[in-house]
Symmetry: D2
Subunit: 371 residues, 4 copies
């Protein structure tokens, strides 16, 4: 179960929901960097369950601790290990699921693949695995902010059929996004989304939605233009988040309806800065898999949570047809908590592309590194 | 410019449109396999330009030759190298583009990244790079067909605003898809798509579209469920095809409007076979990043070709604002030729997942290998 | 600081001597395997300091705990994380070394490389890092023993100028090796080696030595014959153990004096078994980087421990010339404790080669897997 | 058959002696570098067979051509592909070996591993494979010379029992080494070595030997100190050269006889330069797997060529016991031709370590890059 990511800034997560803890090892870390645990805890807190009524009532504080890689507040080049203990896992709650394959969960596929599985809380397929990604992503965020001034902001753009569809006046801060429980920066639509989630929760059901993200201040030149295209790597990183079923960069599926003459992003010389810019941004901030200096624009689709409090038909591992109804405490909608996970995925891809680029083209770094 | 792919069945492409040839090295190849060059040539011929009036009039026969890895018709475990010579490259045709960054092409981003670029025919960003992927993908296809009975079929599902939207009666053979020039297996919509392409070609413009693909007979258990999820790897592979801007697995963006109770795929026991099946397939053939034995269902978005025969504003490398109009011979629509490239991407991901799975779970192989 | 190893069975260690714990994440683990923690603890106990008077008086019990990857005694395919806490680290003991580069230690090079370092107990360069390798290696050993019947035995072959030079009647069990404190299976030479170590310890000095290893029952066909040759991978694994300065396979340096006619290993057909064997084994169990079924024979050189209780000239990080004398508790000779580390390195290389081979050649597995 | 090397500067070779050509793809190449084909040809010419009477009489000019990655004399970031055609392969010469496993060759192990093999000229196990490494190594050499002033020189240090044992007055140029046919810079010993080779050649036999190498001007800080130690990576690279059976760094096996007080390299401050130096260099230029700025000192053992013109006992693939005598034209001693291969291996390891270091620690680059 390869659980690693990145060519240079290499992230490996470990841990299951049934075990004692989950965590991450980050390798390929420069020495001498300030390490700010508060920043990492901040992102984990945005991700944690039990934040408000829209998410699962499971309360987990997800407190992170540093196991290796830091000395007197700074990195020493060693692998950084961060661990969050599992405090709230009630294995007995899952005993009735020991032999059952829950619909649209990974129970059956894990069993088919590995021959032996844990039935407790999703085990490795639990969204708790993303704790490691978010912790590592927060560290990546600090590096990108500090060295290049990059800012990554994601938000909930739709819940069910409520589409805010925010393509102008994109949010400028995480505070703007976090101003309401659903993490949609458009207050009116946020209200409707919250209604929609409460509605499905009341009947024991769940609902899907979409997330958009913008990344600002990415210098031109990040991304490797054949298989490791920036869009391909971003797509893979986001599609590897549980429940993600779709990914778009720039104009995405809508752009397929255009002609070349209406879709192309014409270049122009920005008078004030002397920089090469595009007037439109249907490319979503990259061409040929390499960033072009414009905002990176991403959209991702998340299916409704598979766990619902309703009777469903399924099979067990005998195998025989059975009926089941999930107990437990689950999110009626993963979207609000997925926002920091999407940001982490983006920042992990970008920091790795950045390190790779400065390996090959150090003179590039001199041009683009933040003064 | 990392140009390699795969954990075990490892594919590395090389070559630019301005050079003498393009090619691929395939490593991680079992010894003793029959090597059928005709099958590889078949896929390359489906990809080649100049096939019909819908594609570029450049005629390239794209004849492949074997440089290494084969002895007396079978593999010997060595890297297999396949090369296609560039016969039709007219570097002089591009002299007027030496200093110009074409809109929505990779000229500017390559220059920003590497400091030195070739202006001839897109160089490494040319779709000719995909020859290597298609050649390797054809070999992957043969292994998957032979050993697991897997069948991968892609088709053009929309051109511009003409949507065939084929979700039932999916095509059963490549012949069905290739029955018309646009590679849409629905004859009526194919007709409309062909009209649309001729229309934009007439005015020197281009048009985008979408491709769908189905993969049949994938055994449960392929894919690695954290970062190397099967959907993530398929997404990355397809998003790394030039001009691709979006990717969906199963219900994709549409699925975000559903509730859990209407989206979940209930399991049942198939009486005749004793196999565990799902009644619906909104998951698109995988759960938790692992194949579940149902058809894999994919959709991908391709933007309109950036090269158009119209005046456009842009900048040169001085830099200064300039106007340009492309000469040369180009595809008004890449979709028909992208069909075999999408199939190659899928087959490359699957063969690698298959080899990885049999490394870890050899008893799985005994169950699922085709008798 | 890349800290990972292996193409499929992938081992990543983390932790420094100054931190709370050291550990290892093992990825690429098959599901469904019995996981025997006792076997892992056994190897860690062979490696731990304070075993007897020949090693450091620091007492560390090196008790291992499982953090992830195991459910009800068997693997589930997830990354296995194993952690050993650092109980006996006295950071204050090292305060006088904060600014000093100890001769032939990694203090200066770490500082030159990363710009910031920990001066406590060698930090990441401490031999404590090898705990993770030994833990993972023990798990690899169990897989190799169970599935292929492979047996890996290392022993101390020389200390200083006392050479046992055991090339016949190689030890048949770990018990035979562990029969004395220096881990040399020749009792007479063992006695002399022990004397030698006591002698240097008395004067606050240290001493080097060599280790030999034999691996039995390796089936023909392991190892990848270009850059990932089995000898190359074994060499790298062993040379990456702290203090290792030399590596030989088979006839090694001595073999360079031979002619082809006296060095070649002639093949013959073993009458009883029908197996292809060699009469001599100067190749050391492999040809062209691939195992040939004969015993793998390895020799490795370890320099004397750099830490000694004598005044030495060196520089500090001002930098200026200074004198220093190490306090602390250290091994006068690392060889006895290096024996299980060498075995772990070998087993990690072999299990990865084994998994890779069964990925590519599953029919090979059918032939060679232990009945 | 993984045939790739390096984390960033990634080298993949392909081709067999029986095929049309051998070659190499180099990926992870910066854009904008001057590409000097003459320098590459120079190293290939040092490696080629038929140079003088000490090597095989097969004449191969090994002329290299560039297939991709270069535009108008400079790199463009794309994979660089270099190919040398096989002009002198006489497959018929090998027909009598079709079913025979030659002693101490890789015939049997390839067959055992892959199930199907080529019997022609060693196929992939032929030393012709190293053409790709030498070509890529020459490019690495140019980068290291140009950017860091690094100089790598190897020489033949012994042939059979004739040991020059050059540890002082190490050669200062390739010309010094190439002054005689055996590539030993000590004229007197060179004479004896040449005699020894002529002697074994006369009786159809072969002979082994050792190579030493020195690398100058390596800045402190290269190498990754856990599994990717500089000594481990150099060891693996050199042990993966055909016929290599042993590797030492610094004091090697001899150093095991020392005590810590006589082996440690004391640091001192070099008055003229302000640099931190060591008075002795038993460490061989690295500590903890990281370069320390002193000369890197390497020694490698090469067994006698397995091909000899004498009758030998062996088995065929029936299998049954047979006798054989090699025809063909072979090196009585590989050492002189191995000199440039060893240098290539070293330079490939160093350039990759250099690129990795500048990815992580760009400020390091500013300090150490040659003015």
């Amino acid at each position: 179960m390869p659980s690693s990511w990145g060519k240079i800034f290499r992230v490996s997560t470990f841990g299951e929901s049934h075990g004692d803890s989950v965590g991450v090892v980050i390798d390929g870390v420069p020495g001498g960097l300030q390490f700010n645990l508060t920043e990492i805890q901040k992102d984990l807190t945005r991700r944690r369950p039990g934040q408000n009524l829209l998410t699962t009532p499971r309360k987990e504080d997800d407190e992170v601790r540093v196991v290796s890689g830091i000395f007197e507040g700074r990195t020493i080049g060693s692998p950084i290990t961060l661990i969050v203990d599992n405090k709230n896992h009630l294995s007995k709650d899952y005993e009735n699921l020991r032999h059952i394959y829950r619909p649209s969960h990974a129970d059956y596929t894990y069993h088919a693949k590995y021959g032996h599985r844990s039935h407790v809380g999703g085990a490795r397929a639990s969204v708790r695995e993303t704790i490691g990604r978010v912790a590592a992503g927060a560290f990546a965020r600090c590096i990108l902010e500090e060295e290049l001034g990059i800012q990554t902001i994601a938000w909930v753009d739709s819940i069910g059929d409520v589409f805010a569809n925010i393509t102008d006046n994109l949010p400028k801060s995480h505070e703007e996004v976090d101003a309401n429980d659903v993490r949609c920066p458009h207050p009116e639509f946020a209200e409707k989304m919250i209604e929609k989630i409460k509605e499905v929760r009341k009947i024991g059901d769940s609902i899907g939605g979409t997330i958009r993200a913008v990344v600002r201040n990415v210098p031109p030149g990040l991304g490797d233009p054949v298989y490791d295209k920036l869009d391909g790597d971003l797509g893979r990183a986001i599609l590897s988040i549980p429940a993600c079923k779709g990914f778009e960069i720039g104009s995405g599926f809508e752009g397929t309806k255009y002609t070349g003459s209406t879709h192309n992003d014409e270049f122009y010389l920005e008078a004030e800065t002397g920089r090469i810019r595009t007037r439109t941004n249907r490319s979503g901030g990259m061409q040929g898999g390499i960033s072009n200096g414009e905002e990176i624009l991403i959209r991702a689709a998340f299916k409704p949570t598979a766990t619902i409090a309703k009777f469903q038909n399924t099979v067990n591992d005998t195998p025989e047809d059975v009926q089941m109804k999930a107990g437990g405490r689950h999110d009626p909608c993963v979207l609000p908590r997925a926002v920091p996970i999407v940001e982490a995925a983006i920042n992990l891809v970008l920091v790795d592309a950045y390190f790779y680029q400065r390996a090959l083209q150090p003179e590039w770094l001199a041009t683009w590194k933040r003064k």
